[in-house]
């Protein structure tokens, strides 16, 4: 008969724990099991840990934090990621965010994307900015006709708007910021005039 790992008495309780694919078997007598809180519901998962070592504890903690995560589109889980080293689909970045943030934190120095955006994305953004600045050509904007009535400052505005749109499309953001400020200034002065 197996002996209790703590006191050497005959073991009556056998506990198998699987953490990070590593199986650990703990054998103990009733007394020791109670002493380590195995039979106390509240402390069940953690009471054992001091004797199982800090490494194991860290493993459990990490697992618990990402436990239960599953990608709703492809079914990828933290476990399947650990096995293959690859994610299942773009949606994993949303549904397994906790796992991804951990990996990004340890493998990358920055946390936010600072590079280029897909062209389609930029175009959408340009339209939004133009709309916000009242420079959109869409009839819904309502100021197209007004813009064409006045000659000099309006055409200047139009020109600036076009430059702004080009600057953003070509990712010249510093120039875009300057143009945006210039547009605001011009619009403000125009407002004061009228």
């Amino acid at each position: 008969m197996d002996k209790c790992q703590f006191c050497g008495k005959p073991a009556t309780v056998h506990m198998t724990q699987i953490v990070n694919n590593k199986t650990t078997v703990v054998r103990m007598c009733n007394e020791c099991a109670t002493k380590h809180g195995l039979f106390s519901k509240e402390e069940l998962p953690f009471a054992m840990l001091s004797s199982l070592g800090e490494a194991l504890f860290a493993g459990i903690r990490q697992n618990l934090s990402t436990q239960g995560l599953i990608c709703s589109k492809c079914g990828c889980t933290p476990m399947s990621f650990k096995e293959t080293g690859r994610l299942g689909c773009p949606n994993c970045y949303r549904d397994l965010k906790l796992l991804i943030d951990g990996i990004v934190d340890s493998s990358q120095k920055g946390a936010f994307h600072k590079g280029k955006k897909p062209k389609s994305q930029t175009t959408v953004e340009v339209e939004k900015i133009l709309e916000k600045e009242g420079l959109s050509d869409s009839p819904a904007n309502g100021n197209t006709s007004r813009r064409r009535r006045k000659n000099s400052p309006r055409s200047k505005l139009e020109e600036l708007g076009e430059n702004l749109s080009n600057a953003i499309k070509n990712e010249r953001y510093e120039e875009a910021a300057k143009l945006r400020d210039e547009i605001r200034k011009l619009k403000k002065s125009e407002g004061e005039e009228s």
Binding site: G85, G88, Y93, V104, H113, K119
Partner: protein, 354 residues
């Protein structure tokens, strides 16, 4: 020999301006379609659909319309390996060839792997350090793709990739350097550590996990998130320029302090290259590397540098088999390799040390 392989061998022998220590540079972008599973998790049908869409989008880009698209599963193993030896695709790409397609632009300086670990991995090569020109080229392709395909992108994480270590720009830029003097003066370990501290990696001839042969090293960025493409490229350029300076200094030191040893080392190497009847690829690469150094230092005509870079390509195992058009055993390859090397170096003049 298949047509595309023939074309490959004719067109991609890079004729370029000689820049000491720089062999080639490369920029690679990883992209995925937003509505499809990543390659490792996708079924064959999904992969075929992805490949068809990507291929169509790529071929509609004006400068890619005359490209060849190769089904990797149609090739012999040694033919696939020859593409790896040319750095036109990765080693991982030839392991699982399920719906894996390779697009090769007609100038062979742009290649796109479809269904590697990401749906699209586009790369552009050049033989100098002109990252700006290269980035413009690949950026044009990328813009075209994002207009025609729904590319997976997130405002925080940037371009989404199957492995989170590539997320952000999805860009890997690398430069192949020839650093014999830093190896001779035993400076490489220090250099590797210093480069690592700056967030860049030094690898051997064939990237991840490969050994450094022929004093050839690949330096590339590790970080892909939190820096813009331009930041990454300008940092890498700065690092490469200072490594080249270190190499040039080390060459001067070796010439000054160990000239007799250097003459002996190169002289013996040329003797072996001219007289061999059996030659392993490692020995050939190391020997040719020394002759490249001799040419850089003016002990051999400078004009030989391009020919040496070409012979370095031709002596690789799969290239020899592609030329022979059949699978060869190790010793058969060593015999063929020795033949190529012997014939070439018979025409090379003697070393002239001033």
């Amino acid at each position: 020999m298949k047509d595309f392989v023939k074309k490959l061998f004719q067109a991609s022998d890079l004729q370029h301006e000689i820049m000491p220590a720089v062999i080639s540079s490369r920029i690679r972008l990883a992209r995925n379609l937003s509505d499809s599973k990543f390659v490792k998790y996708a079924c064959r049908g999904d992969l075929r659909a992805v490949a068809d869409r990507c291929e169509k989008a790529l071929l509609s880009y004006p400068s890619l319309k005359n490209s060849d698209v190769i089904n990797m599963s149609d090739l012999q193993e040694y033919e696939r390996m020859a593409l790896v030896e040319r750095h036109l695709c990765s080693q991982e790409f030839i392991v699982d060839t399920n719906e894996a397609r390779l697009l090769l632009a007609d100038d062979r300086l742009i290649s796109v792997m479809i269904n590697e670990e990401d749906h699209l991995r586009a790369q552009v090569f050049q033989s100098d350090l002109n990252f700006r020109g290269m980035f413009d080229k690949i950026n044009g392709i990328d813009d075209h793709l994002s207009k025609n395909l729904d590319i997976a992108f997130d405002a925080k994480y940037g371009f989404l990739t199957s492995c989170p270590t590539n997320v952000g720009t999805g860009m890997r830029a690398s430069v192949m350097l020839h650093l014999p003097a830093l190896v001779i003066t035993k400076q490489m370990n220090n250099l590797i550590l210093a480069v690592q501290k700056l967030g860049f990696v030094v690898r051997g001839l064939f990237g991840e996990g490969s050994e450094a042969q022929g004093n050839l090293f690949q330096i590339s960025n590790q970080q892909t998130l939190g820096l813009s493409e331009v930041d990454i490229l300008s940092r890498l350029t700065q690092i490469i320029k200072s490594i080249i300076d270190y190499e040039m200094n080390a060459r001067e030191i070796v010439k000054k302090e160990r000239m007799v040893w250097l003459c002996d080392f190169m002289g013996r190497a040329l003797g072996i290259l001219r007289g061999c009847y059996l030659m392993t690829s490692e020995d050939a690469i190391n020997g040719i590397s020394l002759m490249m150094l001799a040419s850089d230092l003016g002990y051999l005509p400078n004009a030989l540098r391009n020919d040496l870079a070409q012979i370095l390509m031709k002596i690789q195992s799969s290239h020899i088999q592609v030329l022979a058009n059949k699978l060869l055993s190790d010793s058969e390859r060593d015999i063929k390799r020795a033949e190529i090397v012997r014939d070439f170096f018979a025409t090379v003049p003697n070393l002239r040390f001033h």
